[in-house]
């Protein structure tokens, strides 16, 4: 299947967006300009660092489940993502 131009709709912090179907949540959130995926224990805004599942900086809440690594999770139609941005 050619997924070059396929898009899906997801919800990020309550707003709907059409995003590439074959991207990860991390890639999509970066392109949407999300300012903080999470807040650190002292309240600093954080974005992904390693991009490959190691550093845990890209953790967001996906479909109600907290602490999901955005960089390891492909987007899915209807997905609801919430960040600390």
């Amino acid at each position: 299947m050619d997924t070059t131009h396929t898009e899906v709709e997801i919800e990020v912090d309550g707003r709907a967006f059409r995003v590439p179907a074959d991207a990860t949540v991390a890639a999509v959130l970066l392109d949407l300009g999300v300012g903080a995926f999470r807040r650190s224990v002292t309240g600093e805004p954080r974005l992904p660092l390693c991009g490959m599942g190691t550093c845990q900086e890209c953790r967001v809440t996906i479909d109600g489940v907290a602490h999901r690594r955005a960089c390891m999770t492909p987007v899915r139609a209807g997905m609801k993502v919430s960040t600390d941005g």
Binding site: A23, T24, D31, V41, T54, M72
Partner: protein
């Protein structure tokens, strides 16, 4: 060699923690679907072995062959992925391995008598659910991660790893139009600079901390061992567009309000600032040895110890690729093939003996492995990290991003263990995968221990309570 009993023979009582979920049986379990894992699994499955491959990413390929669509990949990567598809190996994507043990250890721990069972158990989390795999042989192909060194401002948004930026681009992110500084050490800097430039980013400077003299020695070594790579490096240089390749330079700090706005660079004598929207920084690679350590495999100097057949110190456990020493994709493929072929020869039901491969095939693979590790040693010497980098973190610079522990907080400690007790450094969800190697470089602290789970997991995954309805949430 005596035939190994089928994995099903592993007594359930021996498997601690107990599981209420289902268990997948395989003759050979491979952890990691990068080049080493793909090569190992393909060889073993082609020889008729029942192979299960677990990988945390949504698609096979590891970091180097990470992709959204196969057309994006170079021909060799596509060929290997197609071979892997045809081989009959079963890939379980999105499976993060969080625990592993040998059946014999669990048997002994349970105080059981009689002949200890053989084989291994792996526990993975797949989409929030527990998956347990029982296997006669395990091949670890867990790859490597980036080495990050702390400096003031490195936790600011839009400071990414070098490989990190590459991975995010391959996953669909765009840096087009952004002004980018790439800084750190190693051949990856040029490759990522070129990728970002080709994508429309404005790469201002690529700063390599290694000295010009060290790089020149490396160039000479490469000419002897692998002349093709000189041309490869030259192609990357020209692909950088207008960017400057600043050798012997490094970032001393990053500044910005809500995200990085400028970085300060130095050559040791003179400092200057570069405005930027994105900083990519990384200082080479660190082998992922956690799972090997958990299974009790010997690790020397941060590398899993293996023999000529890629066997670890634990009988039945193999290791291939970066965990045995950073040596790149060609070494990983060769080591994967060697491990896969050897695991075939020593596993499976009696009456179906496998083969460790024909002699010429073996010679070819051994030759590639030897050559690539030679190049890797030259690389390591050329890109040795300079001592000045140890002075970059200030008292208020964060070392541990999970727990926001600063350099000042750990200053009175003389070991990682002690610092941990005082400050929680390394006790967050990344389990010291970022700050551990950094502290080893900064303070010479070693001995960060691996614990279960090796990655954050749902309690029910660890407790073996998968499969229940309504478990989500």
């Amino acid at each position: 060699m005596a035939a190994t009993p089928p994995a099903a023979a592993i007594p359930h009582e021996a498997a601690a923690p107990p599981t209420a979920g289902w268990v997948l049986h395989a003759e050979i379990a491979v952890v990691g679907a990068g080049p080493a894992g793909i090569a190992a699994a393909s060889r073993a499955a082609e020889a008729g072995r029942d192979v299960v491959v677990l990988d945390a990413a949504p698609r096979p390929g590891g970091q180097i062959w990470r992709h959204r669509r196969r057309e994006e990949l170079p021909a060799r990567a596509r060929a290997w992925l197609e071979r892997f598809d045809r081989s009959g190996a079963r890939l379980i994507a999105g499976a993060q391995v969080v625990d592993a043990w040998t059946a014999a250890d669990a048997w002994a721990a349970a105080g059981s008598r009689g002949a200890a069972p053989e084989g291994f158990r792996l526990v993975a989390e797949v989409d929030g659910e527990r998956l347990e795999v029982a296997a006669d042989r395990v091949i670890l192909a867990t790859g490597a991660r980036e080495l990050f060194l702390p400096f003031p401002g490195w936790t600011l948004p839009n400071v990414f790893g070098v490989g990190g930026a590459q991975a995010l681009v391959k996953a669909g992110a765009s840096f087009a139009g952004k002004r980018v500084v790439v800084a750190g050490s190693g051949p990856l800097l040029l490759a990522v600079g070129a990728t970002l430039a080709s994508q429309g980013a404005r790469v201002a400077v690529v700063a390599e901390q290694a000295s010009r003299a060290a790089l020149a020695r490396f160039g000479a070594a490469l000419l002897l061992r692998s002349p093709g790579r000189i041309a490869q490096a030259a192609r990357l240089r020209s692909a950088l567009g207008g960017a400057r390749y600043a050798v012997g330079c490094w970032v001393t700090r990053a500044d910005g309000d809500d995200a990085v706005r400028e970085v300060t660079l130095t050559d040791g004598r003179r400092s200057w600032t570069e405005p930027c929207d994105v900083l990519c920084t990384g200082y080479g690679l660190v082998p992922n040895t956690e799972l090997a350590e958990m299974l009790g495999c010997g690790v020397d100097g941060g590398r899993v110890r293996v023999d000529e057949w890629q066997r670890t110190s634990v009988a039945g456990v193999y290791c291939a690729g970066e965990p045995t020493g950073i040596a790149g994709v060609d070494a990983a493929l060769a080591e994967g093939e060697i491990a896969g072929a050897h695991a075939v020869a020593t596993s499976g039901a009696a009456g179906t003996p496998g083969t460790a491969g024909a002699a010429d095939d073996r010679r070819r693979l051994f030759r590639i492995r030897r050559r690539e590790h030679g190049v890797a040693r030259a690389l390591e010497r050329a890109f040795t990290l300079r001592a000045e980098l140890r002075d970059l973190p200030r008292g208020d610079t964060i070392l541990c991003r999970c727990e926001d522990v600063t350099r000042g907080m750990v200053d009175p400690a003389w070991s990682f263990r002690q610092a941990k007790l005082y400050t929680r450094i390394g006790m967050g969800p990344c389990q010291a995968r970022v700050c551990g190697p950094a502290c080893e470089f900064l303070f010479g602290w070693r001995g960060q221990t691996t614990r279960v789970p090796t990655a954050p997991a749902e309690v029910r995954t660890l407790a073996g309570e998968s499969g229940g309805a309504g478990a989500e949430g």
